[in-house]
């Protein structure tokens, strides 16, 4: 299974429409929850059937495409495994993120589409993650496009599917202990 192609075959949800803003608000609120380390709030934004992936990327020749691995994933998660991660963070021994790094998620370049399934919304957005650890003044900056499917559940949108398309080959980071 590969990343959802650029969604040009889908119907574009007009920017500025109610659905557009629901998506933007969702992603902006989500970023705030993560940056504020409100992990339970984040968990509550996930759909029970969430499929969350970040494929490994390698440098290929132009003719070979964007270089995303067919089988390799940095993250390949469901709600079960994500909640393990979050529970782990809540212990006193999750060293990679305790003390927590200082993160800031800049979410831009929103494009919203109607999914095949009526009511579901696909959002493409760009994510710049700024991250600082301990007393190291050199920030760790990571970049990705995200392709998300959002679905209504109990009166609010939930994250149903996420592909994090990182702009990274060799990772410039000692750990991937944060969420994208």
């Amino acid at each position: 299974m590969s990343a959802p192609a650029d969604s040009h075959l889908l119907t574009r949800v007009p920017s500025g429409s109610a659905d557009y803003w629901r998506c933007v608000d969702f992603l902006v609120d989500e970023a705030a929850a993560l940056d504020d380390n409100r992990m339970d709030d984040w968990l509550a934004m996930l759909h029970p059937e969430i499929d969350y992936r970040a494929p490994i990327r390698i440098t290929r020749e132009r003719a070979a495409g964007a270089g995303f691995s067919e089988e390799g994933y940095h993250f390949f998660e469901d709600l079960d495994s994500l909640s393990i991660r979050i529970d782990r963070l809540a212990t006193d021994y999750a060293w990679a993120e305790d003390p927590p790094s200082r993160t800031r998620r800049f979410v831009t370049n929103f494009r919203v589409f109607e999914c095949e399934r009526a009511g579901d919304l696909r959002v493409h957005s760009n994510l710049l993650l700024y991250r600082e650890r301990l007393d190291d003044p050199r920030p760790l900056v990571m970049s990705a496009e995200r392709r998300d499917d959002l679905r209504d559940l109990d009166g609010g949108l939930r994250l149903l599917r996420r592909w994090v398309l990182l702009d990274h080959g060799l990772l410039n980071t000692a750990n991937l202990a944060v969420f994208f």
Binding site: I56, I58, T59, R60, E61, A64, G67, S69, E70, E71, G72, Y73, H74, F75, F76, E77, D80, S81, S83, I84, R85, D87, R88, L89, T91, D92, Y93, A94, W95, A96, E97, G169, L170, L171, N172, T173, A174, N175, L176, A177
Partner: protein, 473 residues
Amino acid sequence: MQPHPTPMAQFLDEFDASLLEGSVPLRVFNDPEILDGELERIFTRAWVFIGHESEIPARGDYVQRRIGRDPFVLVRSDDGEVRVLFDACRHRGAMVCRAERGNAALFRCPYHGWTYKNTGEFAGAPFFRAAYGSELDKSEWGLYAAPHTEILHGFVFASLDPDAPTLEEYLGDMKWYLDLLWGQCKDGWEVIGDPQRFVVEADWKSGADNFCGDDYHTFYLHRSTIEIGVMDGVKRGDSTENLQGYHVQAGNGHAISHFLVPPEVPGPRFWGYPPEVAERFTPDKLGQERYELAKHSIGSVGTVFPNFSFLAFPLRHSRKEGPVSTMVIRCFQPRGPAEMEIWAWVICPKGTPEEYRRKTYRTSMGTFSAGGTFEQDDSEPWIAQARTAGTAYGRKLGMELNYKMGLKGAASATRVDDFAGPGVAFYPVLEDGVHRGFHRRWVQFMREGGYPSAMTPEQQNASAGEARSNGDG
């Protein structure tokens, strides 16, 4: 004024002697001079892991790899041979391989177009005759290849030293254990996906040393993961009950920590593989005795000197399902003082059913990867080690690290003779001998002179072994 007043040879003598006392100088984890020595004396001499045959199944398939910091191409040539080519054009030294993975009959250098077959042989150059006439002997201008390349169960190793022994000699008794792990599956093993690579600001030895068998750290560094129940059968608290395993010094600096289930535990284990995968294992390859051992094996972690490591344990990345076997391999590549690059692969027996193949991959990456619930914590102390190793005060104190566990006296780890495999074995795993052995071999490699002679498991264990026989073992 000199940051390292000790000449290197004297430093190595002192280090070797201090190992008998279970001491390792902190400084080796962050020192530019030592790194230069390692690049020159270890990484261009030792046998190092390059990749797995399954990464380049077809002729012309190649992947970019590193030996130390140097760029190489692992390629299956058109003649079917697997080769490790030095990625430096013989003309002006540009790199001829541009992608990290691909298939190519020819490597063409972008600078002036010198072209090499995927065997490394010189194939041609623009205007060749007009430019070089008859003076240039094409047979002399192929890409440099690693002088030695050998494959063991699909795992490709290379050495850059013409004087290196065979891989088998180099591995010593460690071969027996690699056979145990990877020599018994009907169709061998394969890599899933592409390797994950990440940079850690720590010394490469922090990783290699840890994987020699630092079971001691599991219970504290990975306590968050254990608390939430990721590692089955491991209990919290001050109990040795969880440490029922063997530490083996396998000679030549190699070491493995191996865990068995007690004979009374029902059912075959094969590192946690379920029946549909375990059936890939067969006694036909190495005989019934080794097959039985595999059947009772529940976990393994080890390092082939200098920087190739592996780990296999049944783990959970789910609350709903039981433990899933994981099998990961690692290269800890130096990048600079206090900087390494970790390469991480997930492997499984060839023929593993698709569903379990995905399950073992997800569990392996979910626990042992840059983002894994286990491994994401490992780099924290390694980075800190490099930092303290770089201190002026550490140098002033001549600070020595404590590698004394199991060295002498009344500690619980005891040399045992009843372990099924070769090498010097201890039980249980509460001992640092596997780490001391790594560093003894390191000292040997760092010395000036010819290729290091073989180091028997007894020699590797010298200090600890002697000490134990004086103690009550």
